[in-house]
């Protein structure tokens, strides 16, 4: 099947879709590589076979739900934790040059650092408690459990000696994964909203 150019083709023709420019990315004009989801060379035939499965949803007028809905409080808590972590690292992590040599010394492990690690784990536990109450939220729960472990690891490394920005690489990636999940949830239905507003 030929893929239409972004913002053109069947979708654009039937729904009046327009390109929506966003800084750095044009999300709504993106097209999905249909072959990647294995609809084969006869997508219409494939959809026809799927139609009877969709019938209950059509009749009840409801939508399918595979992912827990966006939760503003979890998103805000995650962002606050990220900000607090960055502030802490700014004070405690040493800076190194490209050869790995220290250029600005950090602070050794102390009671204040211990308090930060405990507070961070507490914030994660609070988020986890909330996330566990929601259905279809398994991945977020797992990420939050891993996040607590990442603070344990950073603390363990800090107890042994100087930490650097790279010491928090794993923690940063887990925080980004949590933030990515929040963004994904926030963007669910974005294309639908864009379609509706362009009518």
């Amino acid at each position: 099947m030929n893929e239409p150019a972004p913002g053109t083709g069947i979708a654009a023709a039937h729904f009046g879709l327009v390109r929506v420019s966003e800084p750095g990315q044009d999300r709504r004009s993106a097209t999905f590589p249909v072959k990647a989801i294995n609809l084969g060379s006869r997508p219409i035939a494939a959809w026809r076979s799927v139609l009877p499965l969709l019938l209950p949803f059509i009749l009840c007028g409801c939508s399918v739900l595979f992912v827990s809905p966006y939760d503003e409080l979890t998103d805000r808590s995650a962002n606050e934790l990220i900000a607090r972590t960055e502030t802490f690292l700014g004070r405690y992590a040493a800076r190194t040059d490209e050869t790995g040599k220290i250029v600005t010394s950090g602070k050794p492990y102390d009671s204040e650092a211990a308090a930060f690690y405990n507070e961070a784990r507490g914030a994660v536990a609070a988020m986890l408690l909330r996330s566990e109450q929601k259905a279809k939220n398994e991945e977020e729960i797992e990420i939050l459990k891993d996040l607590s472990g990442q603070y344990d690891r950073l603390e363990a490394s800090h107890r042994l000696g100087t930490i650097t920005k790279n010491s928090a690489a794993g923690l940063h990636r887990t925080l980004r994964a949590l933030a990515h999940v929040q963004l994904t949830k926030k963007h669910i239905g974005t294309a639908k909203a864009a379609t509706a507003t362009s009518h």
């Binding site: 979708a11 059509i58 891993d146 100087t162 790279n166 994904t184 669910i188």
Partner: protein, 107 residues
């Protein structure tokens, strides 16, 4: 109601909806893998310079490994969201087509 036309429209709506997530997935995965490689190399250099101990590096590399599992989890959410949006967009088109054909708003 023209079934062929409706299915074409459903497919287009599903593509459009899933495409939003597909673009996110591609960029996210490539960026994280590239960064993980650089970070592991930087930790090795810091050990070589005596900035940190091998014991610290072991813990930090374990943290990077654990974080890659979280990328997989985040991508799993994105894939589910793509499927959810695609199916719901197709359902909307189908409901609209049925309403049009019936000439009364059934759904």
């Amino acid at each position: 109601m023209n079934i062929e036309d409706t299915v074409e429209k459903m497919l287009a709506a599903a593509e459009q909806a899933a495409g939003v997530h597909w673009q996110d997935m591609k960029g996210y995965l490539a960026n994280e893998f590239a960064r993980a490689k650089e970070e592991a190399a930087a930790i090795a250099l810091e050990v070589a310079q005596g900035t940190k101990t091998p014991a610290q590096a072991k813990i930090e590399i374990e943290a990077i490994e654990a974080s890659l599992r979280d990328i997989k989890l985040a991508l799993s959410v994105e894939a589910k969201a793509a499927a959810q949006d695609a199916i719901n967009a197709a359902l909307d088109v189908l409901r609209a087509a049925i309403n049009d054909a019936a000439k009364v708003p059934i759904f």
